[in-house]
């Protein structure tokens, strides 16, 4: 029986459940014996000139070995990560003359013990002269306060044409426009950032990083520090979550490496949560202005999306995410006319990078809110409006108005399945009854239909990933993968793939990742790419290994290779009809190494899709919205291991619901973070979500032999607008047309009050 598509429990788990994983902070490597502890001194101000940094008192504190500032490293400025960015916006490794956000690193303290570092860091005296900050992205876009005066603007880059087509909505009976906030979120993986660096006697630096992409991290750090990448070995220990905020490396990681090289001793760093909340990149942070126009029969004729992206103080991946937002702007809909533009700006806040979905949740959220606004305006059921505008089912590539090429999709079917599983008509009937009775708790039903882009290419060329497989004489096998699991279960899933082709049991297949000496050209895990490219690479490598084994066996058995068959029951090959003279893969590995290295290249990214229905109950007296049900169809192509795929979906739903209901990272007018601990940031707990209702649908993609699309980010993309729409729907009969996320009790309560006063 095939192992493919079965619920295999994870091979990773026994260790994680009994002795715990080995995260960077848990490392006991001999190379790290006597490691110094690094503590960052970070800016407490959003925008200020540094007048002086006095390290004398800190240097005299117990256990302090060194206190390093930008001057100790030659005041390096890291160039903008992409050529299309405003090139005057460079990032200092450590702050030089100006700090631009609360949390920006100014100095580091190296101590023998961890607690000593916290003591000594408080003794570093930095004299600041405060500058006016640009905190709100809309203020920053006006260029009144400039973060980089030499740039002459706060705009990092723009997308699309500067001016819109004035005739776009000509002929529309109804036109609705709305500014929609997609608020800033903290990625907040349970393990914060961590690094350890050990200079070796051979002149090489070993760097352990909690990262999603070791090779990219190595390249970035080498580039920033002016080192030959060959002199750095990055090793990825177990990683306690990433959600996009651990793609590659941060400048802070390079500081750890530079500090180790400066003092010639191993150095380790694991940030505190309070540090993580202000210094790890944040996500989302867009203001989207949507305009949607059409006829009263529900047909949308034109859609416009105007994106303003807050990028925080230094341009990171966040600056290019509006490109994805615009690409996916029209989403699942066949709008005849679409236009969009975007502007990425710097602000005196924590830099923005990827966070689960990264640019696509924003696109889906904007259009799904727009459709509800349009439906409300014409008085039509939101499900009906969607049905009227969906792209019909297609099996040949579909090119959208924005140039995206969707591989396969059946959006009407996804919506139908979600509505049916939800019992949509009954829900609407119950809602009507509650409204009629004037119940304190009103029902809200929210819908979203989504399509997203997964497995995009990194850099030029087609998306690809590497895999190696070797069978050893003892019958075990080692798989090296370029992906970088941090909870996704690749050790199990990749073993399933290798086992399927060879018959070697999964317990005997060991999956290794994240060591740049072993896999120097791996890409990593982000953008929902791992199974469709990394998994496909493992399958391809294993199939090539089987071919190699057959060829060798043909020679040894003096047979035609075409007559050699695989006996998976014995992990062996033999001449068809002569099973007695079989050679196991292990035997074939005895005389000569049996290993294959393979690169899988996909023709392009894939486009998973789905439909979500959220049911919320809103207490009109308190404004409290409770998520009662979330019904979700997520079509990610063919599923390899339903247990793992469902786990990915669950996590995404929770993060989506959390954005819709609770989470927001906020600053005051001076740029001081207001939510910089887990006591003040509204982190979702088990009481705020129900068990989720998953509905199956699997439309294979032809872009890889597994038929797999990405699933890691689908949950956030679908759930966020569904839950948000549900909350608005619950109070729409009271006159509320829109309220921004997070839909906190206070915000819902105020929206009801204002609607009733006719404001």
């Amino acid at each position: 029986m095939s192992i493919m598509g079965t619920r295999v429990v994870r091979v990773e788990d026994p260790l994680l459940l009994t002795t715990g994983a080995t995260y960077t902070e848990d490392l006991r490597s001999e190379q790290l014996v006597g490691a110094l502890h690094l503590t960052f001194v970070r800016s407490p101000l959003a925008h200020a000139r540094i007048l002086s940094v006095d390290t004398e008192e800190a240097l005299a504190a117990p256990g302090v070995v060194a206190v390093l500032t930008a001057a100790d490293f030659g005041r390096p400025e890291l160039p903008p990560m992409m050529p299309m960015f405003n090139q005057a916006m460079t990032t200092p490794l450590l702050a030089t003359d100006v700090v631009r956000f609360v949390g920006e690193p100014v100095a580091v303290v190296l101590t023998e013990q961890a607690y000593q570092g916290q003591d000594a860091a408080e003794l570093v005296v930095v004299d600041y002269d405060t500058l006016a900050p640009a905190v709100d992205m809309r203020d920053a876009a006006r260029d009144e306060v400039l973060l980089f005066p030499a740039a002459g603007t706060n705009t990092i880059m723009t997308f699309g044409s500067e001016s819109f087509d004035e005739t776009l909505f000509d002929g529309c009976e109804v036109v609705v426009t709305q500014e929609i906030h997609n608020q800033r979120l903290a990625a907040a993986p349970m393990e914060g950032r961590a690094a350890a660096a050990a200079p070796g006697a051979d002149g090489r630096l070993t760097l352990w990083l909690s990262t999603q992409a070791a090779a990219a991290a190595r390249g970035a750090i080498a580039g920033w520090l002016g080192l030959d990448p060959a002199t750095i070995r990055v090793i990825t220990p177990d990683v306690g979550g990433g959600f996009g905020a651990k793609i590659g490396a941060d400048p802070d990681h390079a500081v750890v490496a530079a500090a180790a090289l400066a003092v010639g001793r191993p150095v380790r760093w694991a940030e505190t949560r309070s540090e993580n909340m202000v210094a790890m990149t944040h996500g989302r942070a867009q203001v989207n202005t949507v305009t949607i126009g059409g006829s009263r029969d529900g047909t949308v004729q034109a859609y416009r999306l105007d994106v303003l992206q807050d990028c925080g103080a230094y341009p990171r991946l966040g600056a290019v995410l509006p490109g994805l937002t615009l690409l996916m702007g029209p989403a699942v809909y066949a709008f005849p006319k679409v236009e969009g533009r975007a502007r990425s700006v710097v602000t005196n806040t924590t830099p923005i990078s990827a966070y689960r979905g990264a640019g696509r949740p924003e696109a889906t959220h904007a259009v799904e809110r727009a459709l509800d606004l349009f439906a409300a305006e014409i008085g039509m059921d939101p499900a009906q409006v969607r049905k009227r505008n969906l792209v019909p089912a297609f099996s040949a590539p579909h090119t959208t108005a924005t140039g995206a090429v969707y591989d396969t999709g059946d959006y009407p079917e996804a919506l139908d399945r979600a509505l049916e599983a939800a019992g949509y008509d009954a829900l609407r009937a119950e809602q009507a009854q509650r409204r009629e009775r004037g119940d304190a708790k009103q029902l809200g039903i929210g819908i979203s239909v989504y399509v997203e882009i997964t497995g995009s290419a990194v850099g030029p060329g087609n998306p690809h990933e590497v895999a190696d497989i070797e069978v050893h004489p003892d019958g075990s096998a080692t798989v090296l993968t370029g992906t970088s699991p941090h909870g996704q279960g690749h050790a199990t899933a990749w073993a399933m793939l290798a086992s399927e082709e060879t018959g070697i049991p999964i317990e005997k297949i060991h999956v290794k990742h994240g060591d740049t000496d072993a896999v120097p050209d791996g890409i990593g895990t982000f953008g929902s790419r791992s199974l469709q490219q990394g998994g496909a690479a493992v399958r391809q490598a294993t199939q090539e290994l089987v071919e190699l084994a057959r060829a060798r066996a043909a020679e040894l058995l003096e047979a035609n290779v075409d007559d050699i068959v695989v006996d998976k029951g014995r992990a062996a090959v033999h001449v068809a009809g002569s099973p007695d003279a079989a050679l196991t893969f292990a035997q074939l590995a005895e005389t000569e190494r049996l290993s294959v290295r393979s690169v899988f290249e996909a023709p392009g990214p894939t486009f998973p899709f789905g439909a979500h229905v959220a049911v919320v109950e809103v207490d009109q007296q308190t404004g409290k919205a409770r998520l009662q049900r979330l019904i979700a169809v997520d079509d990610a192509g063919t599923i390899l291991n339903p247990l793992l795929a469902e786990g990915q979906r669950h996590g995404g739903y929770a993060q989506g619901a959390a954005q819709a209901l609770m989470e927001e990272f906020t600053y005051d007018a001076e740029g001081n973070p207001e939510t910089s601990t887990l006591a003040t940031y509204p982190f979702l707990s088990a009481t705020e979500v129900p068990s989720f209702e998953l509905v199956g649908m699997a439309t294979a993609t032809p872009y890889n032999t597994l038929g797999a699309k990405g699933v890691g980010e689908a949950g956030t993309i679908g759930a966020t607008p569904a839950v948000h729409n549900a909350v608005v729907d619950a109070v729409s009969h009271l006159g509320v047309r829109h309220l921004d996320m997070p839909t906190t009790p206070q915000r819902v309560f105020r929206a009801i009050q204002q609607a009733q006063k006719g404001i």
Partner: protein, 156 residues
């Protein structure tokens, strides 16, 4: 200060700094590194261990406060023959963990919850684990695992 504790059944005595947190004592002095630190405000529960059988957040207990008491961490949960505790086994079976960082604390909190209430409802499990954060699972399979461990999965 001198602290004498029984950690996972073994008594030990150590000279520690007064301000040393229990979690750092376990990780650095006892070399038991399964218990993680996920925040600095006693919010996330990653550091949950049992102190005299009661769950505590070990980032908010001083090592010296454990003097004369018994500490249990996830490392001490499995049987001597390596058989996983029913809660550990259920977490695996139900895919109640992904990155694993919250897991040791989550498992210990679940053990404590089931000790107090051997047959909880889904809502009671959710409320019982409110102080333990997970960013990966959406809590769905954690709740399932705890209910399965309680032998009340059918009631969920």
């Amino acid at each position: 200060m001198q602290v004498t504790t029984t950690v996972n059944g073994a008594q030990r005595s150590d000279e520690v700094e007064d301000r040393l947190l229990l979690v750092h004592y376990l990780r650095e002095v006892c070399d038991l590194r399964a218990t993680n630190v996920g925040c600095d405000t006693t919010s996330c529960g990653a550091c949950t261990v049992l102190l005299d059988g009661e769950s505590v957040k070990s980032c908010t207990v001083l090592a010296v406060q454990a003097d004369g008491r018994e500490v249990s961490t996830v490392e001490g949960l499995a049987g001597a023959d390596g058989t996983m505790h029913p809660v550990q086994a259920a977490f695996r079976q139900e895919h109640g963990l992904q990155c694993g960082f919250c897991t040791p604390g989550m498992v210990m909190a679940s053990v404590s919850l089931l000790k107090d209430n051997p047959s909880p409802t889904e809502q009671q499990v959710r409320e019982g684990l409110e102080g333990n954060f997970c960013r990966c699972t959406g809590y769905h399979n954690i709740v399932k695992a705890v209910l399965a461990a309680a032998g009340s999965g059918a009631k969920a």
